[in-house]
Symmetry: C2
Subunit: 356 residues, 2 copies
């Protein structure tokens, strides 16, 4: 397929997913209106927070599904939308845990409701807690309804149970990863590289890659071997993707990523980069700066220089390449048709293309 075909496929899939999500939010909004305008407004805020992303998880479901020969795009879009809604729930709650009030350059749920409160003259700490309280409620709604999108897919019986099991497992492991992330942030000794990889695999790769790919494969009626191969691919490409994400958070091109490269450094985010750096004598020169909320651009450059000089950047890049290559290997056996490799080659290439 040439690039033009890829875009067409992607657009067609995307439209299915958008339709499913639009119908879900429209229904929910209608139901909520009967319980009062402020509740309807909360649903609108939730919908806004569920929009604007890359719809990454539905893309994974549909890629696995179509490349294994599935043709009921509406059913696949429902399963994809279920993962998207789970993602929305998890990031809304993750933002509460991280005390973040902004996402993608605009206020998130916490931020929107904090701002309404401050505008009404409520003092900031109370307004922030109000924003976080509403975000807990909003995340609960997204979480509780993600199952139901699978129910609406028209899939029944054992197949539905298997899809529920996969969604269940995705959420179950993500909660473990979130717990370990919270643990890292308060414990004295810094996490090791292996601990970071394990945490990121649990917290993000499971529900973003492994789960959606397995669900798409199961829905397509893939063989046990094909399902296993795509799950393995998902786990490894998910870890690679996460490491690349952490690299871009520090070394990325702000113009291309749309994110400041000071955010992660100011937050003191625990990544593979940090796990590699700590313990190195040269890191001690900048470790006091790391995690400072008022870090300047110049101080950020100093940290970056150290991370380059002691090889942390190179280490993380090699690790990401490693996981991306392992992911690709999962796809090259006889268990999968060539269509699957065709489908996922661009994704592996994109991950590899983002590391030097």
């Amino acid at each position: 397929m040439d690039t033009h075909d890829l875009v067409a496929v992607s657009d067609r899939r995307q439209q299915h997913v958008e339709r499913v999500l639009a119908a879900f939010f429209s229904d929910s909004h209608y139901r909520a209106k009967a319980l009062g305008a402020p509740y309807a407004a909360l649903w609108q805020t939730l919908e806004r927070n569920a929009s604007g992303g890359k719809r990454f998880r539905p893309r994974m479901v549909m890629a696995a599904y179509e490349s294994l020969g599935g043709t009921d795009l509406d059913a696949a879009a429902h399963v994809g939308a279920a993962f998207e809604l789970l993602h929305t729930a998890l990031i809304v709650h993750d933002d509460v845990i991280d005390r973040d009030f902004v996402r993608r350059g605009g206020p998130n749920v916490s931020g929107s409701y904090r701002d309404i409160a401050t505008t009404a003259g409520i003092p900031l700490p109370t307004a922030e807690h109000r924003g976080m309280s509403v975000a807990i409620i909003a995340g609960d709604l997204a979480l509780f309804n993600s199952y139901r999108l699978i129910d609406r897919s028209g899939v029944d019986g054992l197949l539905r149970t298997r899809l529920h099991d996969i969604l269940d497992e995705a959420m179950f492991v993500s909660a473990a990863g979130e717990l370990y992330d919270v643990d890292f942030s308060i414990r004295a000794e810094p996490p090791t590289v292996d601990e970071i990889i394990e945490m990121e695999a649990l917290k993000t790769a499971g529900y973003s890659f492994e789960g959606p790919l397995a669900a798409g494969a199961v829905l397509a009626g893939g063989s046990p071997e094909a399902i296993a191969a795509l799950s393995t691919f998902g786990r490894d490409i998910g870890i690679a993707y996460q490491i690349v994400d952490d690299l871009l958070g520090v070394f990325g091109d702000e113009g291309a990523t749309g994110k400041t490269t000071l955010g992660d450094l100011r937050e003191g985010k625990r990544t593979v980069l940090l796990a590699h750096a700590v313990g190195h004598p040269q890191w001690a020169e900048v470790s006091d700066l790391f995690g400072r909320p008022d870090l300047t651009a110049e101080e950020g450059d100093r940290i970056r220089t150290v991370l380059e000089e002691i090889g942390s950047r190179r280490f993380a890049e090699a690790l990401a390449r490693d996981f991306a290559n392992r992911a690709w290997e999962a796809l090259v056996g006889d268990d999968l048709p060539g269509t699957v490799r065709e489908e996922f080659r661009p994704i592996v290439a994109a991950v590899l293309g983002r590391v030097r």
Copy 2:
């Protein structure tokens, strides 16, 4: 039935519910262990927080189910356990929203994890946020799994969909009630009596009474009229129960309820009592005391005296009686067999017996 029979029925039902919940937590704990000891420990904390309650919601499911002739107690216990798990999720998150660290005299999820952090030398604000973060995760797990207990009930097809719909609606309205509760706590003007009743009906009565009763009736194959009658009963008895709860929170016998009667006054809890009192000239004498975290026992007595003198207590008691009587009326038509009235008479009597 004499009292002895009632206790025997109640014990038998209770045992079924406990078995279902024990099996669910045992499975989850086993799954969690594979992802690490701290995650398994979180599941133990969640199980502890799901225990020790009155299992009120499963009781409602089973009472509706058996009084309408249902005989598969195991299926009913699964549905009851689903509501119990939903309840656990909602109170764990409600405690985060209310910044409570204690429930039933012991640390709740937030409290347990806050205490672990302070013991490790973490400063209190960070430790509190850590406790609340873990409680968000724990509540998410309980919430996400409540659906699945219905899946495990062995009920399939349309019936399962209807049970899911009822659980879905219960959670949907509870979220609206929680939102309005948060809104009340920050807005300038105090809520009216009607607003309080509406909020309590949404936040608590729906998922504690109306939903469980409807689910039990649907599972028993009750007629549409029987299901509607039990839903109406549930809504009204739920509101009555909530008003009584608010009365006991201020005027109760601490020895009997196990709760301090200063808690609600110190919290400044918005109840029917308060909605009636505000605006009355005599309330102005004590309104500054209301909501003070350091309220003394003597100051509490002063507030109580005013609430009695201006008739707020009497008003709330009459309102509770009113709703309890309306609830009973929903059961007296021809749509329901006499067994249903027999089953629920003691509950109505208990509510009425708690108001003068």
